[in-house]
């Protein structure tokens, strides 16, 4: 029944082959247009690089901008009648230099005579002005304009990050296919985190060339060209004056300052000491400078506010107090004897209530508080009881944003550590553990680890009486004028807002009559703060820590200060924190002696035993 169908199919196959051959004969043999197009390669595709977005501070001061740069590319297969003498004259190079440049280019891995290859990098504006009239005479050579990053200030290096040419590895791993070899891409900091917003989109220009490879003009007067669109500008919450002042104070010290506006979570200052000048990582010297900076033993590329994990020290007592109040195991009036047999203390006090214990940073008091929290007697088994208590404790403490990365808009943020029952199971290799094994977490020592930004966020949370906005650097993106959506939602702690009043009372007392009274107290404004002294390995001094917010009513700034190897929190850190608050609220310090004290940097007279 299917007679003839086989023959029909055979015919279709043969006819298809013949159609192809005829068509091929036409385009390959008869029509010479294609050959000419190929020979002259009439159309050249040139990339127009977009301008990267600008970055400003909260008051509109420019921090990061672009400067033009020109580079010379060569398509070797198009180079004809090359006049090397003239080239040397125009580009002001010697014959040997020219020869060396060619050799270096050919030695590069990605070199191909069929692709435009970088010949001279980073021509300046003046170079370009001089050579552009001569470019017609060097077929195969093209000048491309693009921009590099410049920084108006050496401040904020670690938060800004840097931009460099995309690496082979990044190119391979790029899922979007947006990047091409030679593209600039943000490598760290804001430049990396907001890469998508900052980069803009590339444009393409089509140029006609004659047989000699010399550009004759646009194709159909630019009908097919697409313009590059510039990246979006970013407004940071940074107060550049405050930032620069912070870096000035941290000169010669290791540590960090984080200042946050509590009402919004915007970061006002993010100081990492020691730092580097971001201008070192732009332009021609990028590679050698990067090597120098990354090998520096002071680790200037280590962004301490986000990456340095310290034990929280006594500052943690505020969080402990609020957790205990919430759990109902103490009231603000609860007094616990300062029994110094298990855990040591300092200062003259014997039987304080909660506010007094915080103001004097009484260790035995908080040892007792933690015991009440972890051993509530809900289970007869002391191990099980501790376990249940610790789980509840962990829930409250982590609700302050401790124990996991906050999710700030910079890469490489660390999360610190807040121990949970599961953590101790691993640490004790499933042997039982109870309160007496783990009590050092009561005073912020032991296994606890926090990051400076979390401490500043904690101060902001107390200032807000119970909630925080995730701290973020960028407060407005492009024309929207809004930060990313995750920075617009409040995070509430598990603590009732009434208990935050107790905490603020205690912190006010710390500054007015407690450990912070000598260096953190300011005239005209109520500062709430807490000192911390974090144990360090002898013979180094302890780390000096201070968190604070001010004013007490309608707080405008919350700070955390860490100064490594500087001893008591009441000295270095409290001084710096109060100077930052003063600078932000009043524009300048009115206590030059404190500033002098900080700049002198001599916080401890005697090396620790």
């Amino acid at each position: 029944m299917n007679e003839g169908r086989r023959e029909i199919l055979q015919l279709i196959i043969v006819v298809t082959g013949i159609i192809f051959l005829v068509k091929l004969f036409f385009i390959q043999v008869v029509d010479s247009r294609y050959r000419q197009m190929a020979d002259s390669n009439a159309i050249l595709r040139q990339t127009e690089y977009p301008v990267r977005g600008l970055i400003t501070d909260r008051n509109g001061k420019l921090i990061v901008y672009n400067t033009p740069e020109f580079k010379l590319e060569v398509l070797l297969k198009d180079v004809r009648d090359f006049d090397s003498a003239k080239f040397c004259r125009v580009f002001r190079m010697s014959r040997e230099e020219l020869r060396a440049t060619f050799r270096a280019m050919k030695a590069r891995k990605e070199f191909s005579p069929y692709k435009p290859t970088l010949f001279l990098d980073q021509l300046s504006n003046e170079d370009f002005a001089r050579v552009q009239d001569y470019m017609d005479e060097f077929s195969g050579f093209y000048v491309l304009a693009r921009t590099t990053r410049s920084y108006s200030t050496p401040a904020l290096a670690n938060a800004l990050g840097y931009v460099s040419e995309i690496s082979k590895k990044q190119l391979d791993e790029d899922p979007s296919g947006i990047y091409k070899q030679g593209d600039y891409v943000g490598q760290s900091g804001i430049e990396a985190y907001y890469e998508e917003q900052l980069r803009g989109t590339r444009g393409v220009r089509f140029k006609l060339r004659n047989v000699k490879g010399i550009i004759q003009g646009s194709v159909e007067s630019g009908k097919y060209d697409t313009l590059s669109t510039p990246g979006q500008d970013l407004v940071t919450g940074i107060d550049l004056d405050l930032q620069q002042y912070g870096e000035f104070l941290m000169k010669g010290k290791s540590g960090s300052i984080v200042a946050i506006e509590p009402a919004t979570g915007e970061i006002l200052a993010l100081v990492s000491g020691p730092s580097y000048d971001p201008n070192l990582l732009t332009g021609r010297k990028y590679s050698s400078n990067f090597r120098m900076i990354s090998l520096d033993s002071n680790k200037p590329l280590f962004n301490r506010p986000l990456m340095a994990q310290y034990r929280p020290g006594s500052v943690f007592k505020i969080a402990q107090a609020m957790t205990a109040l919430q759990e109902g195991v103490i009231t603000p009036e609860t007094r616990i004897r300062c029994d110094r047999t298990i855990i040591n203390c300092h200062g003259a006090h014997t039987n304080e209530d909660l506010r007094g214990a915080i103001a004097n940073s009484c260790n035995p008091y908080f040892h007792g508080v933690l015991r009440r929290m972890l051993n509530k007697g809900k289970s007869n088994d002391p191990y099980e009881d501790t376990r249940m208590g610790l789980a509840e404790w962990n829930k409250h403490i982590t609700s302050f944003g401790f124990g996991q990365p906050l999710g700030i808009d910079l890469p490489n943020e660390k999360g610190g550590l807040i121990p949970s029952p599961a953590y101790y199971d691993v640490a004790y290799r499933n042997r039982p553990w109870k309160f007496s094994n783990i009590y050092s977490i009561a005073i912020g020592e032991g296994e606890n680890l926090v990051v400076p930004i979390q401490m500043a966020n904690f101060a902001a949370t107390v200032a807000n009486k119970g909630f925080y906005y995730t701290p973020h650097i960028v407060k407005a993106i492009g024309k929207d004028g809004l930060p990313l959506s995750q920075y617009r939602e409040r995070h509430y702690t598990t603590i009732d807002s009434a208990y935050f009043k107790v905490a603020a009372d205690a912190m006010q007392q710390v500054v007015e009559s407690g450990t912070g009274q000598y260096r953190a107290r300011l005239a005209d404004v109520i500062v709430c703060g807490k000192t911390g002294t974090v144990e360090n390995n002898p013979p180094l001094f302890d780390h000096s820590v201070f968190i604070a917010f001010a004013p007490r009513q309608n707080p405008r700034i919350a700070v955390s200060v860490y100064v490594e190897d500087a001893g008591q929190g009441a000295r270095a850190a409290a001084s710096i924190a109060s100077l930052m608050i003063e600078k932000y609220l009043f524009g300048a310090t009115r206590r030059p002696y404190i500033e002098q004290y900080v700049l002198a940097g001599n916080f401890e007279d005697v090396k620790k035993q």
């Binding site: 029944m1 299917n2 169908r5 086989r6 199919l9 055979q10 196959i13 043969v14 298809t16 082959g17 159609i19 192809f20 051959l21 068509k23 091929l24 004969f25 385009i27 390959q28 043999v29 029509d31 247009r33 294609y34 050959r35 197009m37 190929a38 020979d39 159309i43 595709r45 297969k77 050919k106 070199f111 191909s112 005579p113 069929y114 692709k115 899922p175 296919g177 089509f206 194709v219 097919y224």
Partner: protein, 423 residues
């Protein structure tokens, strides 16, 4: 006489054609990646040609396995294999990895395969098995429905991976159905619809087409018998066609994705936007066209060295052949394909049972579709649809898929005497 000498009963003409194509493909893959300044050898593993050689080596073992297995195996596992591949196709969008915008790969570590390439083999087997089963009648509507379902399921699953090209390959089974007795009416309607579709795109104002249809209608009414039923039918048909014309615009703008629209537009008029969506076709034609009669010589192509045409070593491998080997080289490649296709049809027709014959036609249809669409697109006769040129394009999955497709046929053919009893 069983198994006495398998090598003498294999069809060595097909094997020869296969070997020639794989070898030429390998050389051309080398030519694409070749860089005069670096001068790496064809065996360099960092080049596609080096890896392709590994794929070719693996193919050899695949062939060995196919030939060693009992011939009844392929008949027996048809449904199982088909089911297994459908499951894999379902899994691909879920756990697959994305390569070049298409999520079509199942990967173990850095090693990945495209199940869609093997789904073609499984579908050819299952279609053959079904048509070859007792009681199958091509004019039975239920049987037809099952057949369409068998090719429809993989098509839909592959469409879900956004791999339109490979999905379209399954339409080639229409050729098999045609050979096995399906009314050509369906196929003719399909062709007419496609022709109308393209015509609609070509003619800017649909009213020209409507006028043409009305004119045709009047002519048909006047010329033929003037019976009421006939006139009514013709009128309804004309109105339907006009409806289709109107809907094409909707389909083009709302159903097809922008890049698919552009490919069709580029086909119709590549010169309208030679630097935008016509870029691939224009550059591909420049490369092929510049080859001339005798070509520029092996490794001497310049056009293909640029990154002008993407997928140079996979879907656009024919550009390299056209540029470096010229019309003569193109003739050789096209002759090889035509010869292989005719040989497969010859093998198909000498089978003594229906399963074997249908499978052979299935293989021929798949090869033909790839051949026609791939070369058609590089020379601007067909929209750009990303499917490989069998045996030439770079890639392990496609090479292995086509190798399996061909060698199962050769294995079945070698045993055609034994399968007599199951006509």
């Amino acid at each position: 006489m069983r198994q006495e000498n398998i090598s003498s009963s294999l069809d060595w003409v097909s094997i020869g054609l296969y070997a020639a194509m794989v070898l030429l493909g390998w050389l051309n893959i080398y030519a694409v990646g070749y860089d005069e300044a670096v001068g790496q050898s064809i065996f360099t593993l960092s080049l596609n040609s080096g890896r392709q050689l590994m794929f070719i080596g693996a193919s050899f073992f695949i062939i060995l396995g196919i030939v060693i297995l009992d011939v009844r195996f392929y008949d027996a596992i048809a449904y199982l294999l088909y089911g297994l591949l459908m499951v894999m196709l379902i899994l691909v969008p879920v756990i697959g990895k994305e390569v070049g915008g298409n999520k079509a790969w199942l990967g173990i570590g850095s090693f990945g395969v495209q199940p869609s390439e093997f789904a073609k083999v499984a579908t050819a087997l299952v279609v053959a098995k079904y048509i070859g089963s007792v009681g199958f009648r091509m004019d039975n509507l239920r049987n037809q429905a099952v057949l369409f379902a068998l090719i429809g399921v993989p098509m839909v699953l592959i469409l879900l991976q956004k791999d339109t090209g490979t999905a379209l390959v399954f339409t080639s089974f229409m050729i098999v159905f045609f050979r096995e007795g399906m009314s050509p009416f369906l196929i003719i309607v399909g062709f007419c619809a496609a022709a109308l579709f393209i015509l609609t795109l070509l003619v800017p104002n649909p009213w020209y087409l409507h006028t043409g249809i009305v004119f045709l209608l009047v002519v048909l009414i006047v010329m033929g018998k003037k019976k009421f039923k006939r006139i009514a039918l013709l009128t309804i048909g004309a109105i339907l066609i006009m409806g289709v014309v109107e809907s094409v615009d909707y389909v083009i703008t709302d159903v097809l994705k922008p890049h698919q629209q552009n490919r069709i537009k580029a086909l119709i008029n590549p010169d309208a936007d030679p630097l935008g969506y016509g870029w691939n076709v224009t550059q591909s034609k420049i490369a092929i066209g510049s080859g001339g009669f005798g070509g520029k010589g092996f490794l001497q192509g310049t056009q293909t060295k640029f990154d002008f045409v993407p997928e140079q070593s996979t879907d656009f491998i024919f550009c390299t052949i056209g540029e470096e080997e010229g019309w003569i080289g193109s003739l050789l490649v096209i002759a090889l394909f035509v010869a292989l296709l005719l040989r497969i049809i010859y093998l198909a027709e000498r089978q003594k049972n229906r399963f074997a014959r249908v499978y052979a036609y299935g293989a021929a249809s798949i090869f033909f579709f790839h051949f026609a669409v791939n070369i058609g697109m590089t020379i601007g006769l067909f929209p750009v649809i990303g499917i490989p040129l069998p045996f030439f394009s770079y890639g392990g999955s496609s090479l292995w898929g086509f190798t399996i497709l061909l060698f199962i046929l050769l294995k079945i053919d070698a045993h055609r005497g034994q399968m007599l009893q199951r006509i």
